[in-house]
């Protein structure tokens, strides 16, 4: 029994490949916890960052600087009344949010946080993620249909049409990146002597291919990787129904679209699924183009000292956050009403500082590297999502479809063909 537990730790693969159910289960629990924390943090960050972009403050009352706002929102959603529309189809109404959440969470089975830090490494990793995220269209169509009312139905049809159209552009960009795993060029255009094997769809092998070819795919074959990345970045925003492509759930046009008739816990399931899907497609983008868990400048800044410098980054991030929290504590108003909030913020700062100090210790430092760089890149994408929401006006539906079919699809095909030609010629 004990060596069932420890035998995995000595192996060099993911738990799924080793067939170790216990460790796979532990990884799944960790992913659930991590996703929940990430969604809660995203909720707070979105409201604060949008507010600061719009020169206002955002939530400030519930806890110091609104840090407890997501918890208050969660409690509110849990105790709300659960309404079902009169003529709604009960079983379909019940199953729609469940399906959307299941597909959003199932994609995380193959997301690699490190060379062995994934639940499993399927041979078809990228194909699996794209396929399972296309199942969420079914959940949305069912949600709109089962609500038995106009606005949800129109919102669901628009949303599913949009998601299906942009899936094609996403697929073409992904194929271009997968093509790059088996092609090699010269100089900036790849490394002629690098070890290049067959092409691969497995997420971990794609990152290893970037490691072996000493180039992140966003920089490979210079403009082509970048254009493929842009196509994917635009298509993934449309795929998750986020601004500026959020007409299907726009509050001002469609009274919240396909989830109008859902309240309380069911609505929070849609919300959870939306943010998880955002994190999932950002993970695809990070894995395919931005080098997954590899640290930046892995080929230009090599050697012991640079490795040490980059390994201090996780601790530095947390210590910086702790410093910001301490500055915030010192700037709190000196009034007895704010005493609890000041103490709370000081406690938060202490927790962050503690995590930072723990990350400074060498054994933790070596193991946390991969997870940290991956999470940092995905967090960058989350910030981009929020930035887009605060900056761009909404696309009208026909403009949205035009961009998907007449702009992204031809450019995607062109990038694919050019990648193949350049790869074969060089």
């Amino acid at each position: 029994m004990l060596d069932y537990v420890t035998s995995y730790l000595k192996s060099n693969t993911t738990p799924g490949q080793a067939g170790n159910l216990l460790w796979a289960f532990i990884y799944i629990i960790l992913i659930f916890l991590g996703l929940s924390v990430a969604v809660i943090a995203m909720n707070w960050l979105e409201r604060k960052i949008l507010a600061h972009m719009q020169v206002r403050l955002g939530p400030m009352r519930v806890g110091p600087h609104g840090l407890l706002q997501p918890i208050a929102d969660a409690i509110k959603l849990l105790i709300k009344e659960d309404i079902m529309p009169a003529e709604a189809d009960k079983s379909v109404f019940w199953i729609a949010p469940v399906l959307v959440v299941i597909t959003a969470f199932t994609t995380f089975i193959v997301v690699p946080f490190g060379p062995t830090h994934a639940v499993t490494d399927m041979n078809i990793g990228v194909l699996f993620m794209l396929g399972v995220s296309s199942l969420s269209v079914l959940g949305i169509v069912m949600a709109g249909w089962a609500s038995n009312s106009h606005y949800p139905l129109i919102g669901a049809l628009r949303s599913s049409a949009q998601m299906v159209s942009y899936e094609i552009a996403m697929g073409l960009a992904v194929v271009a990146a997968v093509l790059m795993t088996s092609l090699h060029g010269v100089g900036l255009y790849g490394v002629a002597h690098g070890a290049v094997g067959d092409g691969t769809l497995s997420m971990i092998d794609i990152v290893k291919a970037q490691q072996d070819q000493h180039a992140w795919f966003i920089f490979k074959f210079f403009p082509l990787g970048l254009i493929a990345f842009f196509i994917f970045a635009v298509a993934m925003v449309a795929e998750t129904n986020r601004a500026p492509f959020d007409l299907p759930e726009a509050e001002s046009e469609l009274t919240a679209g396909f989830h109008t008739e859902y309240s309380g816990f069911r609505w929070s399931l849609f919300f959870l699924a939306e943010y998880s899907a955002m994190i999932a497609v950002s993970s695809i983008a990070v894995t395919l183009w931005l080098g997954g868990w590899l640290r930046p400048f892995a080929t230009w800044l090599t050697g012991e000292t640079w490795d040490l410098v980059f390994s201090l980054f996780p601790a530095a991030t947390f210590l910086l956050l702790a410093l910001i929290a301490i500055v915030g504590t010192l700037r709190m108003p000196k009034h007895p009403y704010f005493r609890v909030q000041t103490i709370g913020l000081a406690g938060f700062a202490a927790v962050l500082a503690l995590i930072g100090i723990v990350l400074l210790m060498p054994p933790v430092r070596d193991r946390i590297q991969d997870i940290y760089w991956f999470s940092l890149k995905v967090a960058g994408f989350m910030y981009l999502y929020i930035w887009y929401r605060g900056t761009f006006p909404r696309y009208r539906f026909d403009q949205l479809m035009r961009v998907g079919w007449k702009v992204l699809l031809p450019v995607g095909l062109g990038v694919l063909i050019l990648t193949a030609i350049v790869g074969v010629l060089l």
Binding site: G19, N123, G131, S134, L135, W145, L157, T200
Partner: protein
């Protein structure tokens, strides 16, 4: 990959597939039938994974469950079903149809029980197909031996797209 708990997963997935199949042919509401068909398709994708065919499983999830079933659901929503739900569901020849299906089932059972070749096959231990290179090997076949079939399939899809659009247009 080391297989884990194969009989449990086999029985679970095949019973889900058969349950989905039964629900497809017996529900009054077409949307419920479509959902049951999605259940069957996903269970079959799991069975393909157990048969060391991950690429076919991935294609099944993307194309069948994520594409064809969305098409079915759209058409069901377009074609109003409230009226048809209250009508008679099974046609006049249902007894003859059932007898024919039972005869077919009996034929299958006799073939499975009597055939020596099938039992020899069942005794053969299936080779442990390498799973890590499944996609690459399918690609070798698809773009090598079966290149003509591949091109014809793409032509077929083009014809199907044009045909479906022309059929469903209001005014050609």
């Amino acid at each position: 990959m080391t297989p884990v708990a194969t009989p449990f997963f086999f029985y679970l997935l095949s019973s889900l597939a058969l349950l989905g199949g039964i629900l497809v042919i017996t529900r009054k509401n077409a949307v419920h039938s479509a959902l049951a068909l999605i259940l069957t398709l996903l269970a079959l994708a799991g069975l393909y994974l157990m048969l060391y065919a991950p690429f076919v499983a991935g294609v099944q999830i993307i194309l069948y469950a994520g594409g064809i079933m969305v098409l079915f659901l759209f058409v069901i929503m377009l074609v109003s079903i409230e009226k048809s739900q209250r009508e008679e569901q099974f046609n006049k020849q249902w007894i003859a149809g059932l007898v024919a299906a039972v005869a077919l089932g009996a034929l299958f059972v006799r073939v499975f029980v009597k055939s020596k070749a099938l039992h020899d096959l069942a005794g053969m231990h299936p080779a442990q197909l390498p799973e890590q290179s499944n996609t690459q090997e399918i690609a070798v076949y698809l773009y090598g031996n079966y290149m003509l079939a591949f091109e014809i399939a793409s032509l077929l899809l083009l014809v199907a797209i044009i045909g479906a659009v022309v059929m469903a247009k209001k005014r050609i």
